[in-house]
């Protein structure tokens, strides 16, 4: 491959020969032939072994009835999928994933904008926020879940402790459907909103002050400035926040697993956990993978949105 490339590339091939200086950000085609491919080997190798191949293997597996104990598998065509569409548990987990995403993402977007706009005016708060608001984001899902499980603990927890102290009745945060769902959303939003808030803050700092100056001279009220300057100028940042938050929402699993274990009665069990339980709990990997395959179009759609955004931003 190297030699065939060399013969095609003409006299400028050897590193010692003088190179034509090019002003473009990339090199001319007559130089460097095999090096970029070699440099890509580690990343592409990992990607093939742990993403591409598993993807294909997963699709094939979803057509099998795998017996983990005996180590055998039998081709059953679309059997797993047919079973899936009659599985009330799976239906519930799809529903759960939908409401989870549709509450967490808007809350993160609105929350991050609101907090950023509020903190922006205060210098000390902005400085503190750079550290404070990032902290939840660097914590592990295990630590986040532990802290929230402690806060939300029924009767013993801080929040119920406060309610009792204030003479109100306690709330079964993790054992009643509605509250368990609210708790999961609360913990997730808390976990992520700080990071996105900082992104919005960075976006805000790029808006020219002259725009606000001009608006003030024209007599625009604060909310008018927000509506007509801040929001439109923040559009690219907001788009990024929406898409990244979507990605996070589709991945949410670990915190929920520890916080509620999908309970009560499957009220907070998302598709990923359902898949995990089928594959590793009930030892039906084929059936588990079929759920991942069903989820795939959604994941690919989000990934596609992300790519489109990158393209629009001129990154790709």
């Amino acid at each position: 491959m190297v030699s065939s490339d060399s013969s095609a590339s003409g006299p400028d091939l050897t590193p010692q020969s003088p190179v034509r200086l090019r002003r473009s950000s990339t090199r001319s085609q007559s130089e460097f032939q095999w090096a970029p491919y070699l440099f890509l080997v580690p990343t592409v190798g990992l990607l093939f072994l742990f993403s591409l191949y598993p993807m294909g293997y997963g699709v094939w597996m979803s057509l099998q009835n795998v017996d983990v104990v005996r180590g055998t598998s039998r081709f059953i065509g679309l059997g797993n999928y047919l079973q899936l569409f009659q599985d009330a548990q799976f239906g519930l987990s799809v529903f759960n994933t939908a409401w989870y995403t549709l509450t967490v993402v808007p809350l993160i977007v609105a929350g991050s904008i609101a907090i950023a706009v509020f903190l922006r005016e205060s210098r000390p708060a902005r400085l503190l926020a750079r550290v404070g608001f990032y902290i939840p984001f660097v914590l592990s899902p295990v630590v986040v879940a532990t802290s929230w499980k402690w806060l939300l603990n029924e009767d013993l927890g801080v929040i119920d402790g406060f309610l009792k102290w204030a003479g109100m009745s306690t709330i079964p945060w993790l054992s009643a459907d509605f509250y368990a769902r609210a708790s999961v959303v609360l913990a997730s939003v808390w976990n992520l909103v700080g990071f996105y808030m900082l992104m919005v803050l960075a976006g805000l700092s790029q808006i020219s002050q002259e725009l606000y100056e001009a608006a003030r001279i024209e007599g625009a009220a604060k909310w008018q400035q927000f509506w007509h300057i801040t929001l439109p100028m923040l559009r690219p940042t907001i788009l990024l926040v929406v898409i990244l938050a979507l990605v996070h929402a589709t991945q949410a699993f670990e915190t929920i697993l520890l916080l509620t274990d999908g309970g009560p009665g499957g009220a907070t069990r998302l598709v990923v956990q359902n898949m995990y339980q089928a594959a590793f709990g009930r030892l039906q990997p084929g059936y588990g993978v079929a759920q991942a395959v069903v989820l795939m179009p959604v994941i690919l759609f989000v990934a596609w949105l992300q790519m489109r955004l990158f393209k629009q931003e001129g990154i790709l």
Binding site: T43, P54, V247, A292
Partner: protein, 279 residues
Amino acid sequence: MNTGKEIRIEFGKVVYDICALAVCLIFLIPVVWAFFSAFQPPSRLFAFPPNFDPRGFSLVNFQAVFRTGDVPRYAMNSLIVATTSSLITIIASSMAGFALAKYRFLGRQLIFLVIISVLLIPLQVLMVPVFLVLKTLGWINSLIGIIIPPAATATGTFMMRQYIIGIPDELLEAARIDGASDWKIYWHIILPLSAPALGAVGILSFTWRWNDYLWPLIVIGDQKNFTLQLSLANLVGTNTVEWGTLLAYAGLAMLPVLVVFLCFQRYFLKGSLSGGVKG
């Protein structure tokens, strides 16, 4: 010196600052509370309002943590996993970033597109087939099984590419004229010049790998290969351990990441924000 109006404005600003600072503090309550609770002796753990007086603090919970298992060993495992995996991430992503930023070759756009889009697919969705790949490789129940699979990251590749694009071509041309090989250019020019990006990617992936829970959960069964996160999660799941112990354990498990973050905070923010917002 100040007119009444100016004083009013100053006063309003101070009130605003205080409100804004309060928002920051409220936001941190879950962590701060867990932290304070970790220092309460079991008898006072559930008291409300809680005790904030440092004289009443005790370390019994932290001592109890070390009785739950071989915690130093789990910490060592976490450290090994986080460091080696980050090193692999740094090397792989800077090499890929260099290739994608400074070369024009057949399939460049396609490869970049495939790398980013495939790496955007979360490992969680692929966990079952990846588990079987690891099984075939014989990596189940060993640390290497949690070090290698997450080592290629979209963020890493992306951040490195973006940073390396900014390195002037003239430098590379000059080195080339001096007869430097591609590897030498990578090693002696690209790597040193992209130190800030390498640092940011390294720190980010260190925290990710330190915090990983899903991979250890699936891959590691043997107690001696537990990471801190995995052993803490197991204790939280069983509900048999005292809350004080769990909170102290959580404090210990998050400490390294917090320290790394606080030390490299500027670095950290710049890296992830420029990688995220503008790119």
